[in-house]
Symmetry: C2
């Protein structure tokens, strides 16, 4: 080992879900939206002036921040944007989780939380989901350095009601509570209205799922202007120009189209409910997902075997080789046609 290696920050890196690129595959493994972004995105892309790319973007991301604020009926000073919600969350960890007390999050949850905590040397403790994979709000009432959880939770898809979310926020007025709402648009109730009541609450959302824009990297946080100001200070001290001209422009178009958003969302929810009925018929067991995926196990066949069988048929779902959930599959909701193919393949494989 070279001497310089002794001062390297050594981490166990997050392993992103595989991004296979097989011809004709059905990709249900990273919770992408099966529908293209709003038509305005294609239009804006076609009209984009390549020459302007020689110039820096606006560091304050004004156009996009204003569009998000307008969409949600809040002030621009209540919105922070970043390079996907991962960037937003990384900045939030850096900004607010500096207490010597541990931050709290569920034992089964978005697999990046412990990675950020380890990387940033933030102490943390996990709280076990109950036997039905539900978050118990009381588990988050003790002294801590901050609280973060997804709602709906990942990879379970299960939703915590707004009053329970509020209880967690209200019991933690001394720390910052982050509600990670990556999947909220698929049937949940956002905690957004609570940001005016609780100055310690941040609500984080993303354009990668319900806005069909995973490829452009856009995420955002909403909270009171003081919280947003602190994140912006850290962001400006890390990278002043995170959002490209393309991300600002296309993100703005993506959020403006409320009608298209409602339509695609409704289609995904409808397909999800259809898929639930079919999976149940095939002997799968799962909670009541309010997200764009279903987290299911099968009564008879091991998840890993089903995962591999589907892969053989060029259908990609997600399998986690992890305690408590190593007999589950996370299946993203694709188009109705894709889910019909999935169900047909599963029926064949299971001889049903």
């Amino acid at each position: 080992m070279e001497n310089w290696e002794s001062y390297v920050r050594k981490v166990v890196p997050y392993v992103p879900g595989e991004q296979p690129k097989q011809e004709g595959m059905i990709k249900l493994n990273t919770n992408e939206n099966p529908y293209p972004p709003a038509p305005g995105v294609a239009r804006a892309l076609a009209e984009m002036d390549a020459e302007k790319l020689r110039l820096y973007p606006e560091p304050d991301c004004g156009m996009l921040v204003d569009a998000i604020a307008e969409y949600y009926g809040i002030e621009s000073s209540e919105v922070f944007v970043g390079v996907g919600s991962d960037d937003v969350l990384a900045m939030i960890f850096l900004t607010f989780f500096n207490s010597p007390k541990p931050i709290l999050f569920p034992d089964i949850t978005y697999s990046f939380y412990d990675v950020w905590a380890d990387m940033q040397r933030i102490p943390y403790e996990t709280r076990a989901l109950d036997d039905d994979f539900c978050i118990r709000k009381e588990d988050y009432y003790g002294e801590n350095g901050g609280v973060i959880f997804p709602n709906p939770n990942a990879p379970t898809g299960l939703l915590l009601g707004l009053s329970e979310v509020e209880d967690i926020v209200a019991h933690n007025r001394d720390v910052v509570v982050v509600v990670d709402e990556a999947y909220i648009d698929f049937g949940g109730v956002s905690a957004l209205p609570l940001i005016r009541k609780y100055d310690n609450l941040l609500v984080v959302q993303t354009f990668s799922k319900s806005r069909s824009l995973a490829g452009m990297r856009v995420g955002f946080a909403m909270g009171n202007p003081k919280l947003i100001g602190y994140i912006n200070d850290v962001k400006y001290s890390f990278n002043s120009y995170t959002m490209s001209r393309a991300a600002l422009l296309l993100g703005t178009e993506a959020i403006r189209d409320r009608k298209y958003f409602e339509e695609t969302k409704a289609k995904i929810i409808e397909t999800r409910e259809w898929t639930k009925r079919e999976l149940q018929r095939l002997g799968f067991v799962f909670g009541d997902s309010k997200s764009n995926f279903i987290f299911a196990s099968h009564g008879e066949r091991p998840a890993r075997e089903i995962f591999e069988a589907l892969r053989e048929k060029n259908i990609y779902v997600r399998y986690f080789n992890k305690k408590r959930i190593d007999n589950h599959l996370r299946i993203s909701i694709g188009t109705q046609a894709e889910m019909e193919t999935l169900i047909r393949c599963l029926a064949e494989y299971l001889n049903r």
Copy 2:
């Protein structure tokens, strides 16, 4: 103050150069390239498929990494890409500058180094440039936690010769040395050939200046595969998908066109040398810039007054209200026509 505020990371944020948007202005304040990106960028933009934006980009940025490696005749495992060189440098600070000993950089230099160090709580010491604003290599020979300097330096534009850069790297084999070559293409000699000889050397470059792509946010580091691997581990633990599909695609097109790159570079250098002669004629004093800007003071008139007079005429240059350099202006090299307008305005203002 709320209790949660006691654990906020409080920073003095970097203040990016202003991005004015006056009609008809001449923008010489943030070292952007006056020429559009390579024609292939506009073509790729026009052909980009908006529908694909629903999918995540490749987390390993393979296409762009490969294109950079091919351009420089190195291996893909020797290349790391990020959201502008600021993102690359922030990741490098996080990854390698974890020694209790101070990192070293010049007192007059890129104004982000101390911001990153403060934000990440990295101890640092600055080394004063000599009276001619040159880096003295011997100042970086002592024990330290790492070394970073731009070459050419910013905002002076002055170049350190390759043998002097090598001396600094060779005297610091126990730490990582970062040569920040944002402006190297405008007349400097890159330290790139040294990465095979020194496993502690990272060379950082950007698409924002010589590649006319500031608006897309693309930067990169080159070094031996072990160094690059460590940065990638940290990057994957921070944000797995930093580079959008658009950044990967357009960045790839921007670096492939060697001919266009050579042409625009030559034009900028020619205009810079013309501007130097004219500025000298008008009584300005400056070192021999090898970058796309000139850092000049005037024998008789205070820099701030000239800065304000130019602003009145809708010409924006950069003024730093900072010790040792508060009587200097940093003037980016625009098109020949823009620089002729600048010189005409200055001549008028100075009555020459």
